[in-house]
């Protein structure tokens, strides 16, 4: 079983059945991660390139470890240190990399849609590790995986995504995956950080944290980029935290077994209080671990792990 589409640029590139397969594989990968010796040789001889135009130690490391645990050769190219910054076009960079016969290219880029150019220009399969304020499909997959570890099904769950929806690629991928899985997705943000026509993206819109949290099964708080204040999107951190920060008091509006997720890194004391991040139902550390498992599963499926292989 593989993924039909050549590339994974958006959650829309994969079907519900394919999501189920990824989840199934990630489960096996997680078992491997719990072993003493985590290496499996499934991708021996395959090459994976991490092409990062935007710094993200977390996501890059997660993919790098995933590749290495699977036995692939992993090369990191970061835009700051290579030729890519010196005016080389995306298409040229892509072709150069392709001629090195990479099997999978993982790319993070600060512009929405940049991956389309890369994907068109290479034979390798491309995985989007975040493009601008468009999508971050592997984050959505790991979020769904984390939820499914705790809940039998996503169907019918109320999932509240809280924070800077306007600039969030996580929110845009999450709403797609959780809708595919049958959840009731809510977006909650100050109106200045809510995209235009957000409800047409498939979420119920509210500007009230209380309304978003009311009977929620899952809460995903997003990282607040502090420079948004300088750009005039909201008046102050104090006000943001007062009206949109998750804490141990307002989480009581949610269901008692509500899970708390955060894509990291957290601004503790701003979008989530220190105490809330430490609640038993906060699964933020599990997300990090599950991130590696999901990326192993994707590399396995997309990097040419023979079908029918068991790991």
């Amino acid at each position: 079983m593989s993924i039909k589409a050549k590339d994974l640029l958006s959650i829309d590139d994969i079907s519900t059945e394919e999501i189920a397969v990824i989840m199934q594989n990630a489960k096996s990968m997680k078992q491997i991660l719990q072993r003493d010796i985590k290496k499996v040789p499934t991708l021996r001889g395959k090459s994976v390139i991490n092409l990062f135009y935007e710094n993200s130690t977390r996501t890059r490391t997660s993919f790098e470890l995933a590749g290495k645990y699977m036995g692939a050769d992993v090369v990191n190219i970061s835009a700051g240190t290579s030729s890519v910054k010196k005016g080389e076009s995306m298409r040229d960079t892509a072709r150069t990399i392709d001629h090195m016969s990479a099997d999978v290219i993982i790319m993070r880029h600060h512009e929405s849609g940049a991956h389309k150019i890369l994907a068109e220009s290479v034979n390798a399969r491309v995985i989007n590790a975040g493009d601008g304020k468009h999508e971050h499909p592997t984050q959505a997959l790991l979020d769904a995986f984390t939820v499914l570890e705790h809940k039998e099904t996503v169907e019918g769950l109320k999932i509240a995504i809280i924070g800077d929806i306007l600039h969030s690629r996580v929110a845009r991928s999450d709403v797609l995956i959780f809708n595919k899985l049958g959840a009731d997705v809510w977006f909650c943000a100050p109106p200045t950080l809510m995209p235009s026509k957000a409800s047409e993206l498939g979420a119920t819109i509210t500007y009230s944290l209380e309304e978003a949290l009311q009977d929620a099964d899952i809460v995903i708080t997003l990282r607040l980029q502090l420079e948004r204040q300088d750009s005039g999107f909201f008046p102050s951190i104090r006000e943001y935290t007062n009206f949109y920060g998750l804490n141990t008091k307002n989480i009581k509006w949610a269901r008692p077994d509500c899970l708390i997720l955060h894509p990291g890194p957290m601004n503790r004391g701003i979008e989530i209080s220190y105490e809330a991040a430490e609640l038993p139902n906060a699964v933020i550390n599990e997300q990090v671990n599950n991130g590696v498992a999901i990326r192993m599963a994707l590399l396995y499926i997309m990097g040419g792990g023979r079908s029918g292989d068991t790991v």
Binding site: P190, P191, T192, Y207, G232, F234, P235, S236, N242, F243
Partner: protein
């Protein structure tokens, strides 16, 4: 317990127009009806020939506190308001310092409670220090009682900032009160641009300076679905823009100040600085249109833009004099004399423009004259004829162009929280 007898009750919320008795206890109405029996602990107030409505609210008042208490303060302003028939008011944030934070907003609410004559609903600044750059903390201000936002005194020049303000305010269900003025087009004008400014040799402010920004602000309301309230509307074209926007389903409301439907720029002929106000007095054509808007419901509220000044600010040449009229103590009489007694508006519409209209602009729950409701009343003597005497104003601002004018229909009594706090213009201590 007080028993108000034989009042003509005008209640826009229930559309009641009926002679009724009203019994109150503590802060509330407990009973209404005809021929209510006096009970032994009742004070009885005979209101034969008087009109009783829910308490009036003024959406646009400059209390000058903090910073310019020599012009007005919470106490003198509250007294002026109560004497003028009001039980609530909205102080504008262009004080020194600017009311752009919850500490200052809360101070105004608390001081208002201490004086105990009117409810104070602070208007917080849209931008920090009214600089037109960064949004102020709307949410924190709402928590302590602010109900609206404004950079009054000027418009928010940066259209992106105004867009964000309208957007952001939605989270807290607060209207943006816009002082619509293109500051470059208005320039250093002192009066309406037209025949009289040419004749008098004074710099003019064209009506377009106001209309352009009304148009912009309405469009932003359409874009954001935020609530845009146009302050002190003075032009015919502005009114037409608002009328059309309302038809289009845009969340826009507006207020008109009494001087804008009572006076025109022709009044300035002898350079009397008491007629200097911003937006400036316009023309007969504008006055006619505004009265039409007041009658047909396009205008949501009458608000005074009460702007007290000391003599020094006004006792100078016209170009250098301060803008503003002290209006709290004349608005009811001007509206009754100029509109009601002229047959332009009904008594019900009069009550709407000063009570239910302003309440709905602020998003306050409707208040009616029914058992269980708060006993905040404005009681009117519609037939009383009296001459405006600025020297008897409770306001420190004596800058009224209406001084010496004989007007028919005055506030008779103000009842706040079930207590008679004003009678025949006099505050009861």
């Amino acid at each position: 317990m007080i028993l108000f007898k034989n009042a003509r009750v005008i209640d826009p919320v229930t559309q009641t127009d009926q002679i009724l008795d009203i019994r109150t206890e503590n802060h509330s109405i407990i009973e209404t009806g005809t021929d209510l029996e006096a009970q032994n602990s009742n004070t009885i107030v005979d209101l034969t020939g008087k009109i009783l409505t829910t308490g009036f609210i003024d959406l646009h008042v400059h209390l000058r506190e903090p910073g310019e208490e020599y012009k007005e303060d919470v106490e003198s302003g509250s007294k002026a308001a109560s004497s003028g028939g009001f039980t609530g008011l909205c102080p504008m944030p262009n004080t020194k310092p600017v009311c752009d934070n919850d500490t200052l907003a809360e101070m105004l609410v608390i001081k208002g409670q201490r004086v105990g004559l009117v409810d104070i609903y602070p208007v917080g600044a849209i931008t920090k220090n009214q600089e037109g750059k960064e949004l102020a903390e709307f949410g924190m201000m709402k928590r302590v009682g602010a109900r609206a936002l404004s950079d009054d005194g000027k418009d928010v020049t940066n259209t992106l900032v105004m867009r964000r303000a309208l957007d952001y305010a939605k989270a807290f269900h607060m209207p943006i009160f816009a002082h619509c003025e293109d500051k470059y087009l208005a320039g250093s004008g002192a009066m309406n641009e037209g025949y009289y400014s040419s004749k008098l040799g004074l710099s003019g402010i064209p009506r377009e300076a106001e209309n352009i920004m009304i148009g912009r602000n309405i469009m932003l309301a359409g874009l954001t679905n935020g609530h845009m309230h146009i302050s002190h509307l003075s032009t015919k074209n502005g009114l037409e823009l608002i009328r059309q926007a309302k038809k289009d389903g845009i969340k826009v409301s507006c207020e008109v100040a009494p001087h804008h439907f009572m006076l025109t720029d022709s009044c300035i002929e002898n350079y009397d600085t008491n007629y200097k106000v911003n937006p400036p007095l316009r023309t007969q054509e504008d006055v006619k249109a505004l009265i039409m808007g007041l009658a047909d419901g396009t205008v949501d509220a009458i608000a005074t833009d009460h702007a007290p000044h000391d003599t020094e600010d006004k006792d100078t040449d016209f170009s250098n004099a301060a803008f503003g009229i002290s209006g709290l103590e004349t608005v009811v009489a001007l509206t009754l004399d100029g509109l009601y007694h002229q047959g332009k508006i009904s008594m019900m519409r009069f009550a709407e423009l000063l009570s239910s209209g302003p309440r709905s602009v602020l998003g306050l729950a409707p208040q009616s004259i029914e058992p269980g409701q708060k006993a905040d009343f404005t009681i009117i003597d519609p037939e009383l004829i009296k001459v405006v005497d600025k020297n008897r104003f409770y306001s420190k601002g004596k800058n009224s162009p209406f001084h010496g004018m004989s007007l028919k229909g005055w506030p008779y009594m103000t009842v706040k929280d079930g207590k008679i706090v004003m009678k025949e213009g006099v505050i009861l201590e």
